[in-house]
Symmetry: C2
Subunit: 292 residues, 2 copies
């Protein structure tokens, strides 16, 4: 297992972690500069943050700073109420693949979606099996294009508390079953983004990480689970402030062959998004060394 205590070469910052500084939007170009100043070698940006600065400007800035991507956030949200909606989702995912390619991302992360309309509080249907079928079909179609341009897709199983609104793929086992179906040859074109926050509770976590193996472990996200957790989406904790056994799980990841970045992704409306972004980045570095 790699020793993280002496440096932060393996640290990546998911830029949602610092999308706000002191409660205000922090533009991606400024985030990238702040990361470069601290010797942070990788980030994982979100599409809206990239669009606000401009795709080619971001690509150029990354090149200039030497910062690489640990992933690109995000594709997915395949289910829709009708054929037009599903077609629009596929087109949008194709654009996301292209953007990921332009930015040199190692994978496009997929938050696959679930009951269409649920995110807005008005689900168009409640048949989660149907949503799962639409997700399978959407990934299959996107995979065909992603393969053609050489962009791996990383399915992110989301915590079951997000099963209605954001993702109907909720366990490692379920995601790997889908990988087996759509990429039986384990080519590396399809795999998983393993986010500790979403999967730490899973009694089958260790065995499913081992099952995935290096070719399917495409990304590793860290933060912490707070007790109490006050919000289903935006109350994630800084590594070391909660109950997730991050080092133990990283040990399982590395035993399975994972050698990539540890990407810090913290949604925190009541705490970290209210702090100075510079302080947040410094804390990520310190906790990467002590708690990850």
């Amino acid at each position: 297992m790699r020793d993280f205590s002496a440096g932060h070469e393996a640290l990546s910052i998911n830029t949602a972690t610092v999308r706000k500084s002191l409660g205000q939007d922090w533009p991606l170009d400024q985030i990238i500069d702040a990361c470069a100043q601290r010797g942070i070698r990788a980030i994982s940006p979100w599409r809206d943050q990239v669009a606000a600065v401009g795709l080619s400007a971001v690509a150029q800035q990354l090149k200039g700073t030497g910062i690489t991507l640990s992933g690109y956030c995000r594709g997915g949200f395949f289910p829709a109420g009708d054929a037009a909606g599903r077609k629009a989702a596929l087109e949008d995912n194709r654009r996301a693949v292209d953007e990921a390619k332009t930015l040199g991302a190692p994978c496009l992360v997929l938050v696959v979606g679930s009951l269409p309309g649920a995110l807005a509080g008005a689900p168009l249907y409640t048949d989660i099996a149907r949503a799962r079928t639409e997700v399978r079909d959407g990934i299959a179609a996107t995979l065909e294009y992603a393969r053609s341009v050489g962009m791996p897709l990383a399915i992110e199983p989301l915590h079951p508390m997000q099963a209605a609104e954001r993702a109907c793929i909720n366990t490692m086992e379920q995601a790997l079953d889908l990988c087996d179906e759509l990429d039986p040859g384990c080519t590396g074109a399809l795999g998983l983004a393993v986010d500790a926050y979403h999967v730490w509770w899973d009694p089958k976590l260790q065995s499913q990480i081992a099952r995935a193996g290096a070719s399917r472990l495409l990304a590793w996200h860290v933060c912490d689970w707070l007790t109490p957790t006050r919000d289903l989406l935006n109350d994630r904790g800084m590594m070391g402030d909660g109950v997730i056994e991050l080092k133990k799980i990283r040990g399982w990841m590395e035993a399975a062959g994972y050698r990539g970045f540890a990407e810090v992704e913290i949604f925190s409306a009541q705490d970290w998004w209210l702090r100075d972004g510079a302080e947040v980045l410094d804390t990520c570095i310190a906790r990467h060394r002590s708690a990850v």
Copy 2:
């Protein structure tokens, strides 16, 4: 599949659903009378509600009204920081078994516990595998006593969002693996309380219900999952107001041989607990017929 549309013979009220009326505590003896007036045939009361009225008074009132129990809430919370804590938990579970017996409950529901101290925001350790071992040992010890007095134990797998504080058994599969270990003969002494709110998201739900079979399906709890859900504990919805496919899942339960009550358990600090308890009971009856 049974037809619930014409009556509410199969309805049970978990008394947490009406533990408050208009925001004030509603004593259990008044709840029982209100249920009897409406022809509700079963309830599942909580220990603190029973204690507030008195165990033998409740037993006598139940006998007088002809209301039976669909379960007794609850035993569990086995993990502790030290041997004295674990011993105290076992003694408390033994008392819960005795109370369930006095009240004529068909089973004692177990919310098994998880990281000790986490519920108070100060976990004594974070090793969830250790908590799971302590839970297994605690159930094994309690089962020995419960068998001797003929009180079935119903493990309730809790939603993974409760994995830190309330239960480290989080899927049907995990609970059934434990049943296989501790009661390989499927004697009926150990089984599951299946709460739709906790398990609706599980991609293996149908297969695990079938695996459980009639001898291990000891209770069936219903409410609904709201979009959005504003609180991890106390924002459950009334049946029909959310996205859970209650009829579909009940169909799976009945295909596996379940013929017991549908027990309404709604924790709702911002909605149903603020309403008049009589209105809540009437709504439960109506929704039992239309949505369960």
